[in-house]
Amino acid sequence: MNPRKFIIAFALGLALAAGAFMALQMQTPSQPEFALVLPDPNPVPAFSLVDQHGAPIDQTVFAGQWDLVFFGFTHCPDICPATLQVLAAAKAALEEQEQAPLPRIVLVSVDPQRDTPELIQQYVNYFGAGNLGITGKLEEISKLTSGLGIYFEKRPTDGDNYSVDHSTAVLVINPDGKFSALFGGPHVVDNYVNDLPIIMGGN
């Protein structure tokens, strides 16, 4: 083989190898970069609460669609609206990309003493249509949170006022009503836009 033929053969071989590598790369499904995906999704524990219209609901409310679930309270002016704003913006961006299905945004109150269904309704509606708000008896909320590894605790501030310490995680619940992934804070719109199609497409 003369040197010229050798170079051509070598270049051809390299091109083939590169092509094969790229084809392999394209077949490998991408992984979520920011969310923690549970290898074995957990069913949402049984509970008996009410939605923002005061209608009774239980764990079956999570079946049938993808849900992004945040635990917060309406008397929280800083981190709670900021998180819901991020979820709403991510949902809007996914809608723009014609992503289907789109997730539902759910707020579970960790302050049922103050969060009446009416208040929760005004709160969730502020962040867009189709959102779900959940409140009800404290012990029933605890059933839901403890089963999902969510922490919250009431903290007196001054006088009769109090704040509620709470986990900042946003949980992804799949259409089977199973907790399947988790976004830890800080919550960033692009992280959701990047990971959600992968998580929701992989079911």
Partner: protein, 139 residues
């Protein structure tokens, strides 16, 4: 005499306008959401003096109560606490931002298009700042 005036002019221009001891900038207040009794305020406060100072209270004619709070997030848990005072060290700025220190504005009263805040400190004059909501927020 001419030289004196020239020197005086030089001296004055070097000084510029006297710096206010306390400055609040980048003020941003979110309008309470429909039905909600509270809102948050964010800003940068700068102490131009050579002495550390602390903001002991903030008040507003548009809110029944104003408190300085701090959100801290550790181990995935968000906690909010009231700060007794907001310390602003000499020749320094303190940033109040989302997910950190912030003003908690409670129980609005006759809230229209603007919010006036008064900052009370230990030894500096009361600082009054007014924030106007953008047109988008007024609807």
């Amino acid at each position: 005499m001419r030289i004196f005036i020239l020197l005086l002019a030089l001296f004055l221009s070097a000084c510029g306008a006297p710096e206010p001891p306390l400055v609040v900038s980048q003020l941003e207040i979110s309008k309470p959401m429909p039905g909600m009794q509270m809102s948050a305020g964010y800003f940068v406060i700068t102490n131009n003096t050579d002495e550390s100072t602390q903001i002991t209270s903030v008040s507003s004619p548009q809110f029944e109560a104003v408190e300085v709070h701090e959100t801290t997030i550790s181990d995935g848990v968000s906690r909010m606490r009231e700060l007794e005072a907001l310390v602003v060290p000499a020749q320094s700025s303190v940033v109040l931002e989302r997910g950190g220190k912030h003003l908690m504005l409670m129980r609005p009263r006759d809230l229209q298009d603007s919010v006036t805040l008064q900052f009370f400190s230990e030894d500096l004059p009361v600082l009054s700042v007014t924030y106007s909501f953008s047109k988008d927020e007024r609807k």
